[in-house]
């Protein structure tokens, strides 16, 4: 009796191990390694590209005041909690930086003063080979077919490996529930919960009807490029 029960437990243990190993083996076996249930719906008028890119004409943004409306628009569209006071909990999608911080390896004593003192916008670079995607253990951060780095915050386990991996400090983590700190909630765009990561994924709302990530549809509100009526930001395929 005792013996057969032990035997049963042994078999149950080995079976559980086998079941646990199955998705792991699948991951190595399948060519499309995006994980089960991965699906991207294309918008009707979706434009396609191999790698979307965005250029910012910094000559037209000489002062911090000039950056403000751009930052404010991004924050508003994407429900960024701007009212968080504790600096440790700060969420940043697009922010202003000094030349020395934006281009750490390109400083010298004889810089063009105009360039050196100009404020620069920092945001996710949507790298061609993104370290955050490489580090993510659940494919919650992934690169879509258009080259945009995206984030599925419903899959994210909050390990923050992507934050350590990003060489541009572009990732933020919801150290607390961000919702009470969002000024005007944009109903066209999802809010996040505590304990998940985000990058400036949706600077892509500047892309004309780009394809949407699994969790939500593309916003129809004025995108960043629409707000920047001057030709400061240009998007294109490269």
């Amino acid at each position: 009796m005792n013996n057969s029960r032990r035997r049963f437990l042994q078999i149950a243990g080995v079976s559980a191990l086998g079941l646990g190993a199955k998705p792991v083996l699948n991951a190595f076996a399948s060519e499309d390694a995006k994980g089960p249930g991965y699906h991207i719906a294309k918008g009707e008028k979706a434009m396609t590209a191999k790698q979307w890119a965005m250029v910012i004409d910094t000559r037209k943004l000489q002062t911090a005041e000039a950056l403000e409306p751009i930052i404010a628009a991004c924050n508003k569209i994407h429900n960024i909690p701007t009212e968080i006071e504790n600096k440790n909990h700060e969420i940043k999608w697009i922010w202003e930086a000094h030349y020395h911080n934006a281009f750490t390896d390109k400083t010298n004593n004889f810089l063009n003063e105009d360039v050196e003192n100009r404020p620069f916008l920092l945001l996710c670079n949507h790298c061609e080979d993104p370290p955050c995607v490489r580090a993510c253990p659940t494919k919650a951060t992934f690169k879509n077919d258009n080259g945009i780095v995206m984030m599925d915050f419903h899959r994210c386990i909050g390990c923050r490996f992507c934050m350590a991996a990003c060489p541009f400090g572009a990732r933020s983590f919801n150290f607390r529930d961000p919702r009470p700190f969002i000024k005007d909630n944009n109903k066209e765009f999802p809010t996040r919960m505590k304990g998940v990561l985000k990058n400036a994924t949706s600077a892509r709302s500047g892309w004309p009807s780009a394809s949407s990530p699994p969790a939500w549809r593309p916003p129809t509100v004025p995108s960043l490029s629409a707000i920047c009526t001057t030709s400061i930001r240009k998007c294109g395929n490269c």
């Binding site: 646990g20 998705p23 792991v24 699948n26 991951a27 190595f28 390694a33 994980g35 089960p36 504790n86 600096k87 440790n88 909990h89 700060e90 969420i91 940043k92 930086a97 020395h100 911080n101 934006a102 750490t104 920092l122 370290p131 490489r134 580090a135 993510c136 253990p137 659940t138 494919k139 919650a140 899959r155 994210c156 386990i157 909050g158 390990c159 923050r160 490996f161 934050m163 350590a164 991996a165 990003c166 060489p167 541009f168 400090g169 933020s172 983590f173 919801n174 150290f175 607390r176 529930d177 505590k194 304990g195 998940v196 990561l197």
Partner: protein
């Protein structure tokens, strides 16, 4: 064998109750963290891993350190260690349990932890870390338990255990190598971006793990009827002497490369840790204390007189545990994040709830270790009486 762990004197039960109290308090704080989010810790956008991951890293080392008794016994047939391999294996089990718990309490969405299995991602080092840590836990449980049971029954352990034992030796090296790869493959973090990180982790592991084992052996001899043996303790002490010397040597290699090349990305973190940067230097006294402690550890373990005297050896083990813990637990993780990739300095210090949760995890590890060692010592006492 578990029945051996439920028979104990009042000191044993008193200790268990104390640990349960700490675990309870830690659990309460963890409930707070679960409700509010990781914002109750001192972590931030810049220092996104803190005390939990640092202690995780340290304990992976302690777990790997157990191999320093397993390897000489099984590969070199060093018979003396036969008496204490079980102590090394059970220490590894308790350490890995703590490691896994530290990962769990560090997750922003712990209820989604199994996503790592549901969406396995072979390009993430965390995927391999999950495999090697759980594998090492499994190996040590199976090997430790069966070898101890065989000893209790007065028979040789089962033949099929032998291959598992051989696998467990490189596996111990793998757990700390993969843990180092979590850090040293990240492009923007120059403090970790060094090929010597895994060797350095292993050196510090083989100093800290056996040091703790020596202290545990001395404790067991003092308070139970089982003597792990003078020769065993002395052999372990020699391992510690080599490992701590190599650990400091590796660190000095890092210092040379950083400062002779004078590449800013490499020097800036070491400057932050040992001299402070832009007026921020919370870790400076700690790092110097760590260096002094490790240097003292080298002197005490390399000098034959102080190594052979068990009182000074005990002191040596304590300073080495403390020194390596500061080096890895405080400096290694914070040091990699400060300054951040934009060269901004935002420091990190753990908060009280964060320390409380950490202590709770350590208490769980201590409880697991207490129960396992109670069994092991019980079997040894039976066998030698």
């Amino acid at each position: 064998m578990l029945e051996l762990a439920v028979k104990g004197n009042k000191w044993y039960w008193g200790w268990v109750v104390v640990l349960l109290g700490i675990i309870g308090a830690g659990f309460g704080l963890y409930m707070m963290q679960l409700k509010f989010g990781l914002g109750i810790t001192g972590m931030s956008r810049d220092v996104s891993w803190g005390f939990y991951i640092a202690n995780f890293t340290y304990l992976v080392g302690v777990a790997a350190g157990g191999v320093m008794v397993v390897l000489p016994y099984y590969l070199h047939n060093y018979k003396a260690y036969g008496k204490i391999t079980i102590l090394g294996e059970f220490l590894a089990i308790a350490s890995i349990v703590m490691c896994l718990l530290f990962i769990l309490v560090d997750l922003g969405q712990p209820m989604r932890a199994l996503n790592v299995l549901i969406y396995p991602t072979p390009n993430s080092v965390l995927f391999y870390d999950a495999i090697v840590l759980n594998g090492y836990l499994f190996l040590n449980l199976v090997i430790g338990w069966n070898v101890l049971e065989a000893e209790r029954n007065g028979v040789h352990y089962q033949g099929w255990l032998k291959p598992l034992i051989y696998v467990s030796i490189p596996w111990a090296v793998s757990i700390h190598t993969v843990t180092a790869y979590l850090y040293c493959g990240l492009p923007g973090r120059h403090f970790w971006l060094t090929a010597i990180l895994a060797p350095r982790f292993l050196a510090s592991a083989f100093a800290a793990g056996p040091s703790l084992l020596i202290l545990l052996c001395l404790f067991i001899r003092r308070f139970t009827n089982f003597d792990p043996g003078k020769e065993q303790i002395q052999s372990l002490a020699k391992t510690v002497a080599y490992a701590i010397s190599i650990n400091v040597f590796f660190f000095l290699c890092e210092v040379f490369v950083a400062f002779y090349s004078n590449i800013p990305g490499h020097t800036t973190h070491i400057k932050y840790l040992f001299a402070g940067l832009h007026g921020h230097g919370a870790l400076v006294p700690w790092m110097w204390a760590s260096m002094i402690l490790m240097a003292a550890g080298i002197v005490l373990t390399v000098t034959p007189a102080t190594r052979k005297n068990e009182t000074s050896l005990m002191l040596a083990c304590m300073v080495i545990i403390l020194g390596t813990w500061i080096d890895k637990g405080l400096g290694m993780i914070s040091g990699g994040f400060v300054p951040n990739p934009m060269h901004e300095v935002n420091e990190y210090a753990p908060t009280m709830p964060e320390i409380g949760i950490t202590l709770g995890v350590y208490a769980i590890g201590a409880l697991v270790l207490t129960v396992l060692y109670k069994m092991a010592v019980g079997v040894k006492e039976e066998a030698h009486s």
